[in-house]
Amino acid sequence: MTTYIIRRLVMAIPLLIGITIISFAIVQMAPGDPTSLLMDPNISPADRAKFMEKYGLNDPIYIQYFKWVGNMLQLDFGSSLLKKGTPVTELIMNRLPNTLLLMLVSTIFAFLISIPFGIYSATRPYSKTDYSVSVISFLGLATPNFWLGLMLIMFFSVKLGWFPTGGVSTLDAPFNVWDRIHHLILPAFVLASADMATLTRHTRSSMLDVTKQDYMRTARAKGFKERTVIYKHGLRNGLTPIITIFGILLPTFIGGSVIVETVFSWPGIGRLFIESAFSRDYPVIMGLTVLSSVFVVLGNIIADILYAITDPRVEY
C-alpha cells in the first residue's frame, strides 16, 4: 500500500511540470503586459525599460520560466505587482483557509444529501419518488450557481432575514462558531448544489446496477432482510465508483468557488483569482493556477488511494 501511494505521488511529478509550463504559457500569451497596467501611459521609454529590467521581464521566456519554477520550489511565488508588493504566498495563505472551509463543508453537504437520495431512488426504480429525485437533480444541474446564490440571498437573507447576505463572519464581532456556521450555510449549499445533482445521479445508476448483480441474489437467498442486503452487500460495491467521482468533482469545487465566493463576498482564493485576473496581477494568477492544479492532482491521488482501499480487486 505504501509503495502504491509513493508510486502515485512520483507519477504526479511530470504532470505537475506540465501544468506549470501550460499555466506559464497561457499567461505569457495573454494580450497586454504588466507595464501597461501598472504604469502611467505617458511614462518615458527609459523608465519603462528600467521597470522591465527590474522585474526580469526582458529575459528570454524560458529563463523567466525557470526562475519562476525555481522560486516556486522554495514556496516563493513572487510578490504581487499590485497590493504594495505583498508576497503571493502571504496573499494566498490569508485566503486559503476560508476556501478550504467552504469546500470541505460543501463536500460534506453534497455527499450527505445525495447518497441517501441516490440509494432511495435506486431501490425504487421508475417509481414516482425516483422520477421526482431525477427531476430535482436535473434542475440542480441546470441551475447556474450565481443565479441560485442570488435567489437564495434574496429569499432567505433579504426577505426572511434568516441568513447573512455574505462574508465569513459578522464584521467587528469576536470569533463565534455559530456565527461562522451561520455564514457558511448558504454559500456551501450553493457550491454543493450542482455536484449534489451529479452525485445523486451517479449513486442512483451505480446502486441500480449493483441491485441487479448475482451476489445480491445470493445475499437474499441467505435469508437476509432487504435492508441488510442493500446496505451490507450493495452499498460498498455501489460506492466504489462514487469515490472516483470525488476526484472528478474536486476541480468543479475550485471552479465553483470562484463564482460562489464572488456572489457571497467570501474572502477566499476564488475571489482573489478574479481580482487578480482583472488587474493582470501575473504572479498571483500563476500562483493560484499552480495551487489549484496541485489540488486537483492531489484529489485524484486521494481518490485512487480510497479506491484501492474499498475495492480489493484493485491491484497495487
Binding site: Y215, R217, R220, A221, K222, G223, F224, N237, D311
Partner: protein, 326 residues
C-alpha cells in the same frame, strides 16, 4: 419416505407491458427427504424460475407467483409472512447458482460471507462461526482453509468459488439444497469434482437436493428422480433408471438421444428439430406438438394432462390412448 417439499400447481408469470408471460405454468413437484431430484429441460423451459419461486426470490416488480402452493414440511411458503420466510431461506433451504464468478460479493472476504450466515441463522459467536467456516471450507476440499477465509473472491477460480458457494449453502445443514445449474459454467473436470462434493455433503447431512440442469450426464450421476420440463410445464417424471431406459414422452426421448454416448457405434448425433417457442406465444394444444415427430391431430387442439402411469407420470396423448385401448 415422506415429502419434504411439495410444489402444487405453481404458476409464476411475468408481466411486460400488457403481455403476460407464463414462465412457470402449473408445475407439480415432490421432493422426499434425502432424495435428489433433477429438474431438466432446455433453456427457457422455466426450470430456474421454478427454483426461484420455491425460494420466493422472483424479481419483483416484473414477476409474480400467481397461483399454487409450495408446501415445505406442510407449511405453504408462498403464504408465509416475510419474517418467517427469512428464517427458512438460507437456513433450511439454501441455494447455489449457476454463475460462480459473480455470485460472491467481490468486496467481502470469503470468510465474512460464510460467517455472516452462521451468525445470522445459528446465532453463533464470531470466533465460533470462524471456526465453523474453516471446517466447512475443508469439507469442500480446501486444504489451506484457514488462510482462505481472509481472501477475496477474485483470487479464486470458478470451480473454487463454486465450492465456496457450496460451503456457504451447507453452512446451516439445510434440509433442502437447490442447485441451479451448478456446473454449467465450469469445465468438465471441475464439474465432476463439484458434483462429487455435492453428493458427499448431501449424504452426510441428509440434505435433499433439487438439481436444475440441462445436462443429462450430470443427472445420471447424482439424481434419484428426474422431472422433465418443457415450456413451463412438467412433461414427464420418472426415476433415473426408467427415464434413461424407456423415456415415454417424445421430448424426453429427444433429450436423451441428443446426448452423445461413449459406448456404441459413432452415429450422427440426434437433435430435436426447431426451437423452444417463446413463452409469450405458445402454441395451441400440446406445447411440444410443433416439434414432436409423433404428433397427431389431437395434439394441436387439446392440452394433454399429466397422467400417472405406475411410478411415473407423463403429459402425452400417446399414453392416454394406450390406456383407453386396454
Amino acid at each position: 419416505m415422506s415429502a419434504l417439499l411439495e410444489v402444487k400447481n405453481l404458476k409464476t408469470h411475468f408481466f411486460r407491458k400488457k403481455q403476460t408471460i407464463p414462465a412457470v405454468d402449473g408445475v407439480d413437484l415432490t421432493i422426499k427427504k434425502g432424495e435428489t431430484v433433477a429438474l431438466v429441460g432446455e433453456s427457457g423451459s422455466g426450470k430456474s424460475i421454478t427454483s426461484l419461486s420455491i425460494m420466493r426470490l422472483i424479481p419483483s416488480p416484473g414477476g409474480e407467483i400467481v397461483d399454487g402452493q409450495v408446501l415445505y414440511n406442510g407449511t405453504d411458503l408462498i403464504e408465509l409472512p416475510e419474517k418467517e420466510l427469512l428464517k427458512i431461506r438460507g437456513n433450511e433451504i439454501s441455494m447455489i447458482f449457476q454463475e460462480p464468478m459473480t455470485s460472491l460479493n467481490p468486496v467481502l472476504t470469503i470468510g465474512q460471507q460464510i460467517i455472516e450466515v452462521l451468525i445470522y441463522h445459528q446465532k453463533m459467536s464470531k470466533s465460533k462461526a470462524k471456526q465453523k467456516a474453516i471446517e466447512l471450507l475443508e469439507m469442500v476440499g480446501f486444504s489451506r482453509a484457514a488462510e482462505l477465509i481472509n481472501d477475496y473472491p477474485h483470487r479464486l477460480s470458478g470451480g473454487m468459488r463454486q465450492r465456496v458457494m457450496i460451503a456457504m449453502a451447507m453452512s446451516c445443514s439445510p434440509k433442502l439444497l437447490i442447485a441451479d445449474e451448478p456446473t454449467t459454467a465450469l469445465d468438465v473436470t471441475i464439474q465432476a469434482q463439484i458434483l462429487d462434493i455435492m453428493k458427499q455433503l448431501s449424504n452426510k447431512f441428509g440434505t435433499s437436493v433439487l438439481l436444475i440442469t440441462h445436462d443429462l450426464g450430470v443427472v445420471s450421476e447424482i439424481a434419484d428422480r428426474i422431472v422433465v420440463m418443457y415450456c413451463g410445464q412438467v412433461v414427464e417424471e420418472a426415476t433415473v433408471g426408467d427415464l434413461f431406459e424407456n423415456p415415454l414422452h417424445p421430448y424426453s426421448e429427444g433429450l436423451i438421444e441428443s446426448v452423445p454416448s461413449i459406448e456404441g457405434e459413432i452415429s450422427r448425433l440426434q437433435s430435436i428439430e426447431g426451437n423452444v417457442p417463446p413463452p409469450e406465444n405458445l402454441p395451441e394444444g400440446c406445447r411440444f406438438a410443433p416439434r414432436c415427430p409423433k404428433a397427431f391431430d389431437r395434439c394441436f387442439q387439446e392440452m394433454p394432462t399429466l397422467s400417472k402411469k405406475l411410478s411415473r407420470s407423463v403429459r402425452c396423448f400417446l399414453y392416454e390412448q394406450e390406456e383407453v385401448g386396454k
